[in-house]
C-alpha cells in the first residue's frame, strides 16, 4: 500500500529526514471546505479502508528499489534503509498525529480513500432523500465506474448512503450487500420465435402433470390482446418466447423487461400473458422493468393495464406487481417522478450515482496543523485556502428539538463545552463578529480508531454504518436537509482558537 502516494510526498519525506525532523511529532487534519452538490449534508466514509491501509503501511524491498530509481541520484542510501523500517504504528486517522515524515507520506493515500467514498455515500443519501423511504433503490453502476475497484467502492458506499441493493455480484460476495438482477435486453433479443423455447413444459407449483407453457401463454395472449384492444400480430414472437423461456427457468421469480420492442403493443401484452399462464399454475410474477421512454407516464399506464388484467381475470395481486425503472436516472428524474406522480416501486441508478456528475469529486484536503508543538497556518492570497491551526477537538451542538445546529472547533487542551451553557463562538465566513449559542446537547465527534499500529476500537458492520448514516441524516433540520439552497450549516471556532488564528495571521503578515 505504501507507494500509493504522489511522488512529492517522498521528496518531502526525504527533506524532513535530511533535516533531522522525521520523528518530529506532527498532526494533520483531513477535511473539506464546502459540502458537495450544493448541499450542506455530507456523509463521511472510508474509515475502514483507511485503517486497513494504515495497518498495511510498509515499503517492501521492491518499493524501495523502485523509489531509489525515481528519486534524485543525490538521495542518501541511509534514507532508503530508513524507509524500509517504517510503519504507521504511531499514527491515528482523519486527525492524524505522529512522526512528521509518516504524517506527510499518508496524505494522498488517505485522501484517495476518503474522498470518493464520502462523495458517493453522500450522493446515494441524496437519492434516498428524494425517493422517500419506501421505494427500493438499486445501484447498478459497475459498467460506468472508474474500473473494477471504483465500481466496488460505489456499491459499498451507495449502500451506506441508503441504497438497498447492488447489481454487482462481486460487491455482494465481498461485502455482503444484497444483490439483485433483472432481465437483459440481450436475452430477449436472443430469441426470434416460439420454436426456440426449450424445454416448453412446467409443472404446477402444487405438483402434478407438466403443462405446455408456450401453448398456455399463447392462449392467454389472445385474451389479453382482446382486453387491451391491441392487434395480436403486433406482438413480437421472439419476446414472447424469451418471456416463456424465462418463466420456465425462474417460475417463482418471473419478471418482464418490457421495452425491447414496443411496450404497449408487445412487451406488456406478452408479460401479462405469461404472468397469467404462470398464475394458472400457481406462480406469481415478481415484477416488470422499463428502461426507456417517459418512465413516470408509462408506469401509470402499466399500472392501469395490470389493474385491468387483475380485475378482468380475477387475479387481485396483479395490480400490485412491482414496477422497476432504469435509464440514466438522476436527481432530476426523481424530482420529476415526484412532481408528475408515478407508480414506480423500484429504481435502478447507475451512471449518475457512481460518477456523481453534479460534482464528480469531493474537495477533501489534508493539512498539517501542528509540528513540534507549534501550530501551523497556511495563509495564501486565496482566503478560501487558509487553514485553521492547531490540534483540535470538534463538537456537534444540538438544539432543543434534537437537530444539530453548529459544529464547533476547539483547541485540544480546552475543556469540552457543556450542554446548557452559553458559548461565545466565531463562525467561519464571519470570523470577526463573535456570536453566542447555547447547545442543548454537545457531542464530541472525534474517536480514536487507530493507535500504536493497531485498530483500537471495533469497526461497525456495513449495515450498522448504513443505519448510523440514516439516523444522522434524519436528525438534520429540514432546512439543512433540503437538497436545493439549504440553510448554510455553520462551523465555528471557540474564542481561544480564534485568538490563536488571529495571532498567527498577524505574525505572518
Amino acid at each position: 500500500m505504501a507507494p500509493l502516494a504522489d511522488l512529492y510526498q517522498l521528496t518531502m519525506a526525504y527533506g524532513h529526514w535530511r533535516a533531522g525532523r522525521a520523528q518530529a511529532p506532527a498532526a494533520a487534519e483531513l477535511f473539506f471546505r464546502r459540502g458537495p452538490f450544493g448541499g450542506v449534508l455530507a456523509l463521511a466514509a472510508g474509515l475502514a479502508q483507511g485503517l486497513r491501509c494504515l495497518r498495511a503501511f510498509r515499503f517492501s524491498a521492491a518499493d524501495v528499489a523502485y523509489l531509489r530509481s525515481v528519486l534524485p541520484s543525490t538521495t542518501e542510501d541511509a534514507f532508503f534503509d530508513f524507509l524500509a523500517t517504517l510503519d504507521a504504528s504511531e499514527v491515528p486517522f482523519l486527525q492524524v498525529k505522529g512522526p512528521l515524515l509518516v504524517v506527510q507520506l499518508l496524505e494522498t493515500t488517505l485522501l484517495c480513500l476518503v474522498n470518493y467514498a464520502s462523495l458517493v455515500a453522500t450522493n446515494a443519501a441524496r437519492f434516498r432523500l428524494l425517493a422517500g423511504p419506501d421505494v427500493k433503490l438499486m445501484e447498478m453502476g459497475l459498467r460506468r465506474a472508474q474500473g473494477p475497484d471504483g465500481a466496488l467502492s460505489a456499491s459499498k458506499y451507495s449502500y451506506i448512503g441508503g441504497f438497498d441493493s447492488t447489481s454487482n455480484i462481486l460487491a455482494g460476495k465481498l461485502y455482503g450487500i444484497p444483490v439483485r438482477g433483472t432481465v437483459a435486453h440481450s436475452f430477449i433479443m436472443s430469441f426470434t420465435s416460439l420454436e426456440e423455447v426449450q424445454p416448453r413444459e412446467l409443472s404446477p407449483l402444487a405438483g402434478g402433470q407438466p403443462v405446455d407453457l408456450v401453448a398456455l401463454a399463447v392462449s392467454w395472449l389472445q385474451q389479453v390482446c382482446e382486453l387491451l384492444q391491441t392487434p395480436p400480430e403486433k406482438v413480437n414472437q421472439g419476446e414472447l418466447a424469451a418471456f416463456v423461456s424465462y418463466a420456465i427457468t425462474f417460475p417463482k421469480d418471473f419478471q418482464g423487461l418490457l421495452d425491447t420492442y414496443c411496450v404497449r403493443r408487445s412487451g406488456l401484452p406478452n408479460f401479462c400473458a405469461v404472468a397469467l399462464a404462470l398464475h394458472q399454475l400457481g406462480y406469481r410474477a415478481i415484477g416488470v422493468r422499463l428502461d426507456s421512454g417517459d418512465l413516470a407516464q408509462q408506469s401509470k399506464e402499466i399500472r392501469q393495464v395490470l389493474r385491468a388484467c387483475g380485475a378482468r381475470f380475477q387475479v387481485p395481486w396483479f395490480e400490485t406487481i412491482p414496477i422497476a425503472v432504469s435509464n440514466d436516472i438522476s436527481e432530476q428524474s426523481l424530482e420529476e417522478f415526484c412532481r408528475e406522480g408515478s407508480e414506480i416501486d423500484m429504481i435502478g441508478v447507475g451512471t449518475n450515482l457512481v460518477t456523481c456528475p453534479l460534482q464528480p469529486s469531493l474537495g477533501c484536503v489534508y493539512k498539517l496543523v501542528e509540528v513540534n508543538g507549534s501550530p501551523c497556518l497556511k495563509l495564501t492570497e486565496d482566503e478560501e485556502k487558509m487553514t485553521i491551526p492547531g490540534i483540535k477537538m470538534i463538537y456537534r451542538l444540538y438544539d432543543a428539538a434534537g437537530h444539530p445546529f453548529m459544529d464547533l472547533m476547539a483547541l485540544e487542551e480546552e475543556a469540552s463545552p457543556s450542554a446548557g451553557q452559553e458559548l461565545v463562538v466565531h463562525v467561519l465566513g464571519q470570523l470577526d463578529e463573535p456570536s453566542k449559542v447555547m447547545p442543548t446537547t454537545v457531542e464530541p465527534l472525534h474517536r480514536t480508531y487507530f493507535r500504536d499500529g493497531q485498530v483500537c476500537e471495533p469497526l461497525p458492520s456495513l449495515p450498522e454504518v448504513r443505519s448510523h448514516a440514516q439516523v444522522s441524516l434524519s436528525q438534520l433540520s429540514p432546512a439543512h436537509r433540503r437538497l436545493h439552497e439549504p440553510q448554510p450549516y455553520p462551523v465555528a471556532l471557540t474564542e481561544k482558537l480564534h485568538h490563536l488564528l488571529t495571532k498567527l495571521q498577524q505574525a505572518s503578515q
Copy 2:
C-alpha cells in the same frame, strides 16, 4: 474476475443454459453512440485489461458457492457444476464471438474495463490538444479518483492520451510511467524559523569547503528584495527556512512552491534568494510552482522577475526556469492561458482529468448482434437505442489528404471495399438517403487479439500505444479534431447491411 458482473448476467446465463442454448454461437459488439465531451474524437482504450480478464475468466469454487446463495433456490445444481467448468477459450474481444452464455456473462466486465479507460484517455487527449505539443502535462488525480484502482487507471490512460508523467508512485512502479513530484505546502508550513534548518551547510558542486547556505541565502535575499523593491520584513522566515532546507536536501533538483504565503512579497523573493545562493555554489534550480490565484497573469509576472534577477545578477539561465502550475486546471483554464498568453511550461491536472466532469462516463454499450447465425435487432421506441444487426467488419475510409472521413460498417461476408472505388453507403442519422463516397485508402479496423483462450497477437507497450494514439489524432482533419462544435464524423452502413437492417425492422413491426 468472473463475478465482477451484474447479477442479471447470471440469471440470463441460467436462462440460456436451461433453454439448452448455452453453447449457441453468438456475437456481441461493444460500442458507443456519441463521442464524449461533445467532440467527435475518442480514443478506445482498455484492450489489455480486457484480455487479462478474458484469460482469467473462471468461476472459483467460492464464487460458485456465493452464486448458489443469491440465485433463486429453484436453480438446478447442474447449472452450478457447469459454471465451474467455464472459461473464455472460445471468445474474442470488442467484437465478441463465442457460446451465448459466455458472451452474455462478459457484458458488464468488459464495459467496466473499456468505458472509463476510453473516457479518460480521450479527456487526456483533449488536454494535450489544447496545451500544444511543448507544454509538459502531469497527471496528479490520485486523491480525487474513485479509489486506488480508479487512480491507477487514470494514470495509465492519461499517459496513453498524451500526458508526460504522473504524480502517482504506484502507477510509475506498476506501469513504468515517468513519475514527477514537486514540493508540498505542508512541507513549507512545517518550518517556522531559520533556526530549524538542519544541516545548514552545502558543498559546492565542484567540491571544496561546505558553505553555510542559510547565511548565503539571507544575504542574497537582501539584494533580491532591493531589486524587487519589496520589504524584507514581509518575507516569511519559515518559508525561507523550508526552501533552504529543500535546497540542501536536493541541491541539483531545487524547486520552489511559491504560494504558501504571499507570492510576490515572500515566495518569489525567497525562491530567487535560495536559487542565487545555489547558483553561487554551481547548482541550477529546476523550477517553480504556483497552486492558486490567476495562474497565467502570475506566470508572466514571475517570468519578469526571473528575467530581472537573471539580468541584474548575470545569471542567464535564470529567465528560463520552468514555471509549473496547478489548481483545478480544466480545459477552460487551458483556453484562458492561450487567450491571455502565459509563461507556463508545465501543467499539473488532477480532478478535471480523472473525474471527467464535462462528461463523467462514456456511454459504451454491449449488444448481441447475432445468435445461432441469425442477426439480432433491438428496436425500441427510443430510436437512439436501436442496434445494427449482424456480425460486421468496420473499415476506416481516408481521403486524398490522408484524413479519415468515414467509418463504414459492412457485413462480415462482404468483400472489403477497395481504395479508389466508388461506394454507395447509408450514413447513420440519415439512413434513407444513400450517398456515394470514394476512399483513397481503406483501413480495416478489426484485429483479433484473443482466440482459443489465448492472446494471439503481441500487445503493444504503453509508449507504443501512446504514440499510436497521437498519430491517430494527428491524422484527423482540423474540422474533426477541434474540440468545440466539430464537424460530425459520419458512420455508415454498406447497402447490404442497410438492406438487412430494413428487412429486420419491417419484420418486427
